[in-house]
Amino acid sequence: TADPLIVESQDWAQSFGDGVDATPYGLPIEYEGDVIRRNVEWLTADTVSSINFTPIHALDGTITPQGCAFERHHSGAIDLKKSDYRLMINGLVDTPLVFTYEDLERFPRENHVYFCECAANTGMEWAGAQLNGAQFTHGMIHNMEYTGVPLRLLLQEAGYDTAGKWVFVEGADASSNGRSIPMEKALDDVLVAFKANGEALRKEHGYPVRLVVPGWEGNMWVKWIRRIEVTNEPVESREETSKYTDTLEDGTSRKWTWAMDAKSVVTSPSPQAPITHGKGPLVITGLAWSGNGAITRVDVSRDGGKTWETARLAKPGEKMALTRFYLDVDWDGSEMLLQSRAMDETGYVQPTKAQLREVRGLNSIYHNNCIQTWWVRENGEAENVEVS
C-alpha cells in the first residue's frame, strides 16, 4: 500500500515552520530529547561532587556537543563572569603576574581537537560487567575543538625559572582541585582554553577559562583555572594521592598515572542502541582514542574475540583525539559478541579485561581501558557481558 506520508499532503508541506528568531540559540529538536547526559545516582553522595555521562551511544562523528559532554565537578559548576575572572602565575618566576580574561585573548592562540577522559571511565567494570549501556560504561569522555593560549606562552611571559620541575594548577571553585603537572608537559602541549567547538566554554566545562591537558586524565584539566604556580616539588594534593592513584593487587598503588592508554568501544549497536531493522546491512560503529598518540587501527570481533576484522577509520587518527570507526556488515541475524580493539602509533594494543586484571588485580578503579563486549541477541537487543 502507498505510504500516506508520501501520498497524503502533510502539515509541514503546506504551512510554515518556525521563523528565524524562534530560537536565537538553539537546542536539539524535541525528538532527540533522550540524547542527554545521565547520572548514576548510586555512584556518589551528592550531585555537586559527582559525574555524569556523555550519550556516546547516540552520537556519531567525533566532536562532542558541549551541551551533552559529561560533567565532573568537585564542588559544583560555579558562576564566574569574564569580568570577574583573574589568572595568577606565581612561584618560581621572575615576575608573578595577574591576567584578566581580556589579557588572555591578546596572546597568540591555537586550535586543537582533544579528548578529555575521566581516569575513572569504565572504572565500575573492574570487577565485572556492571552497567548496561555504552553511555555508562564509557561515557566519561568528550572530544572538542579547543581554542586557547599555550601555557608555555604564559609561563614565558612571567619569566619561569627553568629549574622549576612542576606547575601546580588550581581552580576558582570551592574544591580548587589542585593538581601538579610536570613542567615538561606544561611547556609541551597544555592549553589555557576559553572556547570549545567554536563557542565560549559552557559553565559546566569551566567558563570562562579551563586547562586542557591533552591525552592526560580529565582531573588535571582544571576548570575555572585561577592560579598556576611554578614549583620544584609536586604538591601531592588530595586529587593526586588519595584519588587518581591506582591500587594493585598487592596493595601498593601507582601514582602519576597521567596518560590515558589506548581504548575503544562499539557505540552502536549497544545496549542503549539496539538493532531494530533485522538482518541485512548493518553499520557497526564506535570510538577509539589514545592519550599516547594517534589511533592507527581498530579491529572488531563479532564472536567474542575468536576472529577479528579491521574496521574502517572515518579519518586517519589524530593525536589525543577521538577517532570514529565503522565496520559495514551483512548481519545474518544471529547472535554476536561484539568487541573492538584499538591500536595506537606507539604499537600499543588495547588489552582484554583478563590481561588488565592479571597485571593490576581488581582494585585499580582508574585507567580501565579493557576491551568491552556487547552480547547482541537475535532480536537486536544488546547487553553488557564479560566473556572467557
Binding site: 553522595a45 564542588s75 548496561n132 614565558q156 601498593t252 602519576w256 579491529d299 564472536d303 574475540g305
Partner: protein, 319 residues
Amino acid sequence: EKLGLGRAALPAEIAAWDWDINAKGDGLPVGSGDALDGEEIFAEKCAACHGDFAEGIDNWPKLAGGADTLDHEDPLKTVGSYWPHLTTAYDYIRRSMPYGNAGTLSDDEVYAIVAYILYSNDLIEDDYVLSDENFMDFEMPNADGFIVDDRAEAEYAIWSGEPCMTDCKDSVEITMRALVLDVTPELDTNAGATEASASAAPEAAPEPEAPAIDMELAAAGEKVFKKCKSCHQVGEKAKNRSGPVLNSVVGAAAGSVEGFKYSNALRDAAQDGLIWSEAELTAFLAKPKAYLKGTKMSFAGLRKAADQAAVIEYLKTFE
C-alpha cells in the same frame, strides 16, 4: 619574547591565593591543635557527612579505618589506611573544607581536625598536640605504599605488536552479565532496560504476640538513635546505608536484611543461628567490637544500660 601583557601580582594577592602545602611541608602555617578540640569541631562541621567517628555516612568519604585492607577485596582507603602524606590532609581541609563553606577554618582548627582524624585512625592519643613543629615527624602508615607509574615497563611491552586475527581462542563463554546485577539507571528509551526486579514477597511469618511497647522509653530511644542514624535507617522508606535497615530487627534472625553486605563475622554468627533477642542486642550495642570481632559496625558502643534499653524499645516500634 614577552608581550608585556598582565600586571604584577601584589604580595597580598599572592598570599590570598597561594595556600598550597606540599608533601615536604612547605607552606604549613604556624599553629597547633589536639584531637580533643578536634572532636568538637569535627562534630559540628564535618560529622554530617563524615560521621561522628570519621567513618563516613552513605557515599561520603570514610576518613578512618581500613588498616591493612589495601590488598584485600574492596580495600577501605582512608586518611589512615591510604594517604601517603599528612600534609595532604592539612592542605585539602584548609582549602576545600568544610564542604559548602570552604576555606573558613582557622589554622589551629585545621590542626585540631587533622589530629582528630589521626586519633580516629588509632594513630595518636587524643591529647597529642599536633603542630607545625612536629607535623612532619608524623609518619603515615601507607607512606611507602606508592610507586611512580610503571605502565611502560609492566604493561606496554606485553600489550604491543601484531595482535591475533583468527583462531584466537577455542571457545567463548559468557561469564558475567550486567543485567543480572541490575544497577543501570532506568531509561525511557532503553530497549534492554530491565523491569525493576520484583521485590521479594514478605515472608509469611506466624503472627507473634504483639509485645507491649513502652512508648515513653521508645521516645527516649529515638534520641539515642541519633547516634545510629548516620548508618542505619528505620521506617517505611528506610534503605540500607552503611548499615542495614533496622525495621523488625528485634527478635529477627541476624544477617537477614536483604541486599545488605554483612561482614564475614556477622554472616558466621547468623549461620550459627544468632537471633537478635533483646539480650543479644544489648550485649552487641554495649561494645560492638568486643561482642562480635570483625563486625563492620564502626561504633564505639552505648555505655549506659538505659540508652541500650531505650534504643531497643524504639526499634521495636518499627515492625
